[in-house]
């Protein structure tokens, strides 16, 4: 950047002198959060354009063909927290086809699995009655506590020093729901809030399969092991999600995950949003504290009173903004956001649908988890602390082609597996690490689904480093920043930009890097758009 750069000098002249097209809002990034924000803004009469760098929208849900005839539906392979208001806004249910709630199979090496049904194990097959009772007690406790936290997830985080009436009513509501349950519940909530998931699981459960599963779910996508302090927050987060009105439930939409991204795009288009794909934003135009437009790689400039960045906060501020327009302290804290992914995703092209020993054919449509015990998850995490991948990884598996046969040629099948832990900064680099890790994952799968490896036609392993390049995700972190206590609520992504507005007036954040965080929920986009609408009459 030199002082003659158009990004800076242009704004010092009067904005009126521009012939540039003007919008009320420019949304950077056509992921589900960007599209959600754009849809809400457009439905409220704003003139909105979405700019997507890739050839199609969908963000992390953007699918791709990884072998002739075989497609992956993208990074997300199951829905477990799509917000009902977002679904309503986008009219995702309008076809009246309700997707069935899918089971979770906690795989056991001996073929005797535990199968959780309903919303996160309302009933469980394959466990003792006593264990069912214990799990139900834990589930009830955690769902109740997650419900208290949930009050804070569907609203803008309170601003310290500027707590308003509605913030107070949320606090009061949270307090009231605790009080009405008695003093014991209040104490227990404060006792457990920052605990580790392993201790909580040990407190209630004795079945290693169930313990392994909750340990896995609490730490999926987070740089924590089950014994790390605060790891229970990840499970709370999971349990704040609901699907079809059922807490903790999960499904794959009718027709598969690949139908979701187009549904978001269609909703935006129906609301009147202009969508441009294959265009890179190279600069957010700002001068003396105010953002007024964007510059595209074509050299074109677009202006708007609101620039909504639905991409990673670090990409927003460190790549698109001139840091001169931001404070040193702000740049420092944005640079320090912890955002290094830990999960690899394996897509397999198979000759025929695989059979996991001991799993009923219907349950193959669900979520299969390989996490034998708490110790297994903890042991899988340990090497990640030192920049190594796990030699005995924990896995979450789905078979996408069962819901969407179009993903594979007739008779064939696809398998999608999330494998932990696979640190972004692998010691020795992923180039040599990748084949080794892939072999380990395949070996693991083979143990539970004998014969699977012989039917592999092709495979595609995406490490966090690959996700970074392929999905423009700094650090390859699908939550756009660690979901840990210090990066939540009023500190997500950093305190000075926690309420969707940023130090640059006119620039707003709307990605998973903002409150309430990642997963296919649409909430960051929804809340950001609501905030923008509340600001300007």
């Amino acid at each position: 950047m030199t002082s003659s750069d158009p990004a800076r000098t242009s704004a010092s002249t009067s904005p009126a002198s521009f012939e540039a097209p003007n919008f009320d809002a420019i949304v950077i990034g056509g992921g589900h959060n960007g599209l959600t924000a754009a849809t809400l803004l457009a439905q409220n009469g704003r003139k909105v354009i979405v700019l997507e760098a890739a050839e199609s929208t969908g963000g992390a849900m953007r699918g791709f063909e990884f072998h002739p005839g075989y497609c992956s539906a993208g990074l997300a392979h199951i829905v477990n927290r799509l917000d009902p208001d977002v679904a309503k806004l986008l009219k995702l249910d309008s076809k009246g086809r309700r997707a069935e709630t899918l089971p979770t199979v906690a795989l056991s090496p001996d073929g005797k699995h535990a199968v959780l049904r309903g919303g996160y194990g309302e009933t469980i097959d394959g466990i003792s009655q006593a264990e069912m009772k214990a799990f139900a007690a834990m589930r009830k406790k955690l769902v109740f506590q997650a419900g208290i936290l949930k009050r804070f997830l569907k609203r803008r985080p309170p601003e310290i020093g500027k707590v308003g009436m509605s913030d107070l009513s949320t606090f009061a509501g949270a307090g009231f729901s605790l009080i009405t349950k008695g003093r014991e519940e209040g104490r227990d909530f404060l006792r457990m809030l920052l605990m580790n998931v392993a201790d909580v699981a040990d407190e209630y459960l004795s079945d290693d399969r169930l313990k392994g599963l909750v340990a896995f779910d609490a730490t999926l996508g987070i740089h924590l092991g089950p014994r790390s302090p605060t790891s229970l927050l990840g499970l709370y987060y999971r349990l704040t999600g609901e699907t079809d009105g059922a807490t903790g439930a999960q499904h794959v939409p009718q027709g598969g995950m690949a139908t979701l991204a187009p549904a978001f795009e269609n909703a935006a288009a129906a609301a009147g949003v202009t969508i441009r794909t294959g265009v890179h934003v190279t600069r957010i135009v700002a001068d003396r504290g105010a953002a007024t437009g964007v510059i595209l790689s074509t050299g074109e400039q677009l202006n708007a009173s609101a620039i909504v960045s639905a991409i990673h906060p670090q990409a927003t501020f460190l790549s698109l903004c001139d840091t001169a327009e931001l404070g040193t302290g702000f740049v420092r804290s944005i640079s320090n956001v912890r955002s290094k992914g830990n999960v690899a995703k394996l897509d397999l092209a198979l000759e025929r649908p695989p059979t996991f020993t001991g799993v009923s054919s219907a349950d193959h449509r669900g979520r299969l988890v390989i996490a034998r015990s708490i110790a297994h998850v903890e042991d899988a995490f340990n090497p990640a602390k030192y920049g190594e991948f796990s030699t005995d990884p924990v896995l979450e598996i789905t078979l996408p082609s069962l819901a969407n046969p179009d993903l594979a040629p007739s008779g064939g099948a696809t398998l999608s597996a999330l494998a932990e832990f696979a640190p972004y900064d692998l010691k020795g680099g992923w180039e040599s690490g990748k084949p080794a890790f892939e072999a380990i994952i395949l070996e693991t799968l083979e143990r539970y689904a004998p014969g699977l490896s012989k039917s592999v036609v092709a495979s595609n392993l995406m490490t966090p480093a690959d996700m970074e390049t392929q999905y423009n995700l700094p650090g390859g972190h699908w939550h756009h920043g660690e979901l840990q206590a210090d990066q939540l609520l009023i500190n997500r992504p950093v305190n000075a930009a926690a309420g969707y507005a940023t130090p640059l007036s006119g620039l707003y954040l709307a990605s998973a890097g903002s409150h309430p965080g990642g997963g296919i929920s649409g909430l960051p986009g929804l809340l950001a758009a609501r905030h923008i609408l509340s600001e300007r009459p």
Binding site: M1, T2, S3, R8, A286, D287, R288, G289, L318, D322, T323, A324, E325, L326, G327, T328, G329, F330, V331, R332, S335, A496, P503
Partner: protein
């Protein structure tokens, strides 16, 4: 065993010299009569050399040599240096031409002053920033997104302030040709030995004076050159006590003496915005964005500025250092951070911080409570204080061009 002991001793040398010595230390130590040292940014520096009183009069009557090597110095260079400094500091660096120096300040994101200092523009894209506190982490983090290099050169560069009416005569006599062309806040390089010395017409005394910067290796030869040339012009080495008197007369503030810097303040309410320490005139709100801009403008707009720094003239002749200021002898209004009886102004002067509206809306009926310790008994006095403009003294010779030969 004995050997082991000796090896250990050899490694413990730093214990014997817990403070760094400046490159000029051998000369100052040799002439020091008072052996009165204090610590300045980790360096052993003279508080006085032979007599505080006489050293002050060397500044005002002849020429005083003061070692400023401990002053923290950063070299900031690169294609983006101007743009970088414009974002870092509150003043407009685009208006600082090559070969000029300006006084400036820099703030954190909340508009709280991190430090004040002088910025030297050595070339189009090379600067030297001089200040009281160390800021390397802040300066490096500020460089994210800029093509600029930042190096601390406090140790490598030795500095001397030569201040007083005969300072020009001393330099002239020392053979610095064309030194008369230097106008206030101008700098130039002059040959010295095999290399050069950077001389600027700047200082901290409000008097005619210069500051000289050389590589540490050339320090002693520069000292000797000035010392020899200054013999007939009354050159004296001085310590901080004398300089402090002169700077109070000149109305200059000192970081962490007259205001707390944002990074050293432990209490949240001690940090100060430029407008709260008399530096509002530095802030250029028209230039491109800079650290603290938004917060400063907001504080101005919302009138949330809490303090104001003023000059006071106090009746009597007892310095009111550290005294509490009252409004109508009753309501606490502020604190005196520096005070002396000014021999030049023949007035009892002080620099003080007042809590607004004292000092802004309420400027009359201010009183200073002075406790004078007289032979183990305090005598408490309420003295009337009047807000007066700074500087307390104005010397024509400071800015005269060409400077006078005294």
């Amino acid at each position: 065993m004995m050997l082991e002991m000796n090896t250990r001793r050899a490694l413990q040398g730093h214990i014997a010299t817990p403070r760094f010595e400046t490159p000029f230390h051998p000369r100052i130590a040799a002439i020091s009569e008072t052996s009165d040292w204090y610590t300045w940014a980790g360096y052993k520096a003279p508080h006085s050399v032979f007599d505080e009183e006489l050293e002050y009069f060397a500044i005002r009557s002849t020429a005083a040599l003061f070692d400023i090597s401990p002053m923290v110095k950063y070299r900031i260079a690169g294609p983006d240096a101007e743009r970088y400094l414009n974002r870092l500091t509150v003043r407009n660096v685009a208006k600082l031409s090559t070969g000029r120096v300006h006084y400036t300040a820099w703030c954190d994101d909340h508009g709280h002053v991190l430090d004040d200092g002088t910025l030297f523009r050595l070339s189009a894209d090379t600067f030297r920033l001089c200040c009281q506190e160390r800021h390397l982490p802040w300066l490096l983090d500020s460089a994210i997104g800029f093509d600029v290099g930042i190096e601390e050169e406090t140790m490598q560069i030795a500095g001397l302030a030569l201040q007083g009416p005969t300072s020009f005569a001393v330099l002239s006599n020392a053979g610095f040709d064309c030194i008369e062309r230097l106008k206030p806040f101008q700098l130039a390089d002059f040959p010295h030995e095999d290399g050069s010395v950077t001389i600027s017409r700047t200082g901290f005394t409000g008097d005619l004076g210069y500051e000289l910067f050389v590589p540490a290796e050339a320090a002693l030869s520069l000292w000797d050159r000035l010392w020899t040339a200054g013999q007939l012009h009354g050159i004296r080495a001085i310590g901080y006590a004398a300089l402090n008197r002169a700077r109070i007369e000149a109305g200059f503030i000192v970081a962490n003496a007259d205001f707390m810097t944002a990074e050293t303040a432990l209490r949240a309410d001690r940090a100060r915005m430029p407008d709260e320490i008399g530096l509002e005139w530095l802030v250029d709100t028209e230039k491109p964005n800079f650290n603290g801009r938004k917060a400063i403008l907001e504080a101005r707009r919302n009138q949330t500025l809490k303090h104001v720094l003023v000059g006071l003239e106090i009746e009597g002749n007892i310095p009111a250092d550290g005294a509490i200021i009252y409004h109508r002898k009753k309501h606490e209004a502020g604190l005196v951070s520096a005070a002396i009886w000014s021999p030049l102004a023949k007035r009892n002067i002080a620099i003080a911080s007042l809590t607004r509206p004292y000092g802004t809306r309420l400027t009359e009926d201010l009183w200073v409570e002075i406790y004078a310790l007289r032979e183990l008994q305090y005598q408490k006095m309420m003295k009337r204080a009047r807000i007066v403009p700074r500087p307390f003294i104005k010397l024509d010779r400071r800015a005269a061009a060409p400077p006078g030969l005294f």
